[in-house]
């Protein structure tokens, strides 16, 4: 019997674990180690953040699902990886620290035959003074929609702002990224337009000054260096597409901004041209930068080899080309294909947990030398596809250790993205977009780096319907309900 341990139970980890267990059956063991007791459909958190969904609509308990699937579930955080075992025993293992199941604080060693790191990101609020509380958690000056609990809190604060606006007090709302190296602009993009939509519905839009602040060097960069898509028969840049929506909704923007300090009611930022500025707010939702979750790695002799397994940003090294080179020399082939660690072939990283070889967007620095550019997004669809490919590979390797790994390069896969711009069965809108491939390949597609036959976008009610249907479809799939394997990642 082989044992597969999946660290993390988000989109990628859950996909890996559930498919692996389905394919391996009772003959082999699948263990999921995640500090969370509940699974969260994160794309719908923005609707929780404006009071259009409750926390219960976007989460469900993991324990009964894993029990039904026959997966050994440990509500614990992974602390360290020991890929060479320890003195007197070559069996690789990880150490975990329980966060639930009545064993809070207890530690345990779990041996493995195969290990998947799908821990997702650490929300690195403390990277920006004032954005965090100094203890790794969100600070008191701003809100976030990164977790369901954050979104509940965001809505509570937003409703206070709406109440003040209803009483005739003009309010300033600021939404965007809280650091120069953030990713996930999409969530902030969705949140700002959902606030704007709800303000209109509440009849208080004219009492709100809503502003966007982002580390993107141009609107519509999205951490992917922007994209060109088919819209109304034209090939249009995402810059025009995004600016159009912001102009239509009367939302001005600050871009190329590194938020370097947050205080009560005020952010301080540095722009690419080196100028410093401040922006006041009554309500701010700023996405934090991401980093790896901080798992350590140790050699057999107990020496620290974290830097062998992990990149400096804490994400795990896989089969990517990490050679430092200028932007002009970046290639699609730099991106990983199998997500297998080059030193330990039984270790994989899936979803956000793998270390990208470099940015996708063109690297930018302010004239003061501060890096200000979005880091690469790894949205749900690529994370799910990668998780499934890793599950395939491990199942094959359990049967035949020399089996060829399955491949899922982000430079060869597309992504469908639906960004809500307001919720409502007949009044909602969303930007429905596809991008193919996620990582541009300028050798294959010399014009825009992507195939414009498969990269398109449009805004409308249909997109909203699709986002709402996807919400139910993916929760159905994650709950392993009948037909779950037929729903694509």
């Amino acid at each position: 019997m082989a044992r597969l341990i999946v660290m993390g139970g988000g989109v990628s980890g859950h996909t890996t674990a559930t498919f692996a267990k389905k394919w391996l059956g009772k003959e082999h063991e699948v263990v999921v180690v995640t500090p969370n007791s509940k699974w969260n459909w994160i794309p719908s958190n923005i609707w929780v953040g404006v009071g259009q969904m409750t926390k219960e609509d976007v989460v469900f308990p993991l324990a009964p699902i894993y029990k039904k699937a026959g997966i050994d579930y440990r509500q614990a955080k992974a602390v360290s990886i020991h890929p060479e075992g320890k003195d007197g025993d070559d069996t690789p293992y990880i150490t975990i620290e329980y966060t639930g199941q009545g064993k809070e604080g207890q530690t345990e060693e779990l041996t493995y035959d195969y290990l998947v790191n799908a821990t997702g990101p650490k929300l690195n609020f403390d990277a920006t003074p004032g954005l965090g509380n100094g203890e790794g958690q969100m600070g008191e000056h701003t809100v976030s929609v990164c977790t369901a609990d954050h979104a509940v809190h965001a809505n509570e604060e937003l409703q206070k702002i709406f109440d003040k606006a209803k009483k005739g007090e003009r309010q300033k709302i600021l939404v965007g990224t809280g650091h120069g190296m953030c990713t996930c602009q999409g969530a902030a993009f969705e949140y700002i337009f959902n606030i704007e939509h709800e303000a209109k519905n509440a009849g208080i839009r004219d009492m709100l000054d809503i502003k966007w602040i982002s580390n993107e060097s141009f609107m519509g960069d999205f951490g992917m260096g922007g994209l060109h898509m088919k819209v109304g028969g034209y090939v249009v840049s995402s810059k025009l597409f995004a600016e159009s929506l912001f102009a239509e909704r009367d939302v001005p923007w600050i871009i190329g901004a590194h938020v370097n300090k947050v205080e009560e009611g005020k952010v301080h930022y540095e722009l690419l041209d080196g100028t410093m500025g401040t922006e006041e707010f009554d309500f701010a939702m700023l996405i934090p930068p991401f980093s790896g979750v901080g798992i350590k790695a140790y050699a057999k002799d107990g020496s620290d080899m974290t830097d062998k397994l992990f990149a400096p940003n804490g994400f795990m090294k896989v089969d990517a080309d990490y050679t430092a080179k200028p932007y002009e020399e970046w290639k699609a082939s730099d991106w990983p294909r199998t997500y297998q660690n080059p030193d330990y072939k039984n270790i994989f990283a899936a979803g956000i947990a793998f270390a990208p070889p470099h940015l996708i967007s063109k690297p930018m620095k302010s004239v003061n030398g501060t890096p200000i550019n979005p880091t690469p997004p790894r949205t749900g669809m690529p994370a799910g596809i990668i998780g499934k490919a890793v599950a395939y590979t491990i199942c094959d390797m359990i049967k035949d250790p020399n089996a060829k790994p399955h491949e899922a390069s982000m430079a060869e896969m597309g992504a469908a993205c639906v960004a809500s711009a307001g919720k409502g069965l007949t009044t909602g809108t969303a930007a429905a977009m596809t991008v193919y491939p996620v990582v541009p390949d300028f050798e294959k597609y010399p014009g825009t780096g992507r195939d414009t036959d498969y990269t398109f976008g449009e805004i409308g009610l249909a997109g909203h319907w699709i986002k709402h249907i996807l919400h139910h479809m993916f929760i159905w799939k994650a709950k392993l309900r009948p037909g779950w394997t037929l729903i694509p990642e």
Binding site: A416, I466, P488
Partner: protein, 52 residues
């Protein structure tokens, strides 16, 4: 002044495009959006199938 023209008064918005009344109406026109729903789904399924 039409709503879409008002925003061009702001310097930041002058170089973009802002949809007019007809384009905005189409975005929430149920019949048109039912048709777009089918089209977008087909396009997304093609991209999904190319990505697996």
């Amino acid at each position: 002044m039409k709503p879409e023209e008002k925003n061009f008064e702001q310097e930041q918005f002058t170089l973009t495009m802002i949809p007019g009344a007809f384009a905005r109406k189409l975005r929430t026109c149920i019949i048109f959006q039912l048709f777009r729903f089918a089209v977008i789904n087909i396009k997304m399924l093609v991209v999904v199938s190319k990505s697996h």
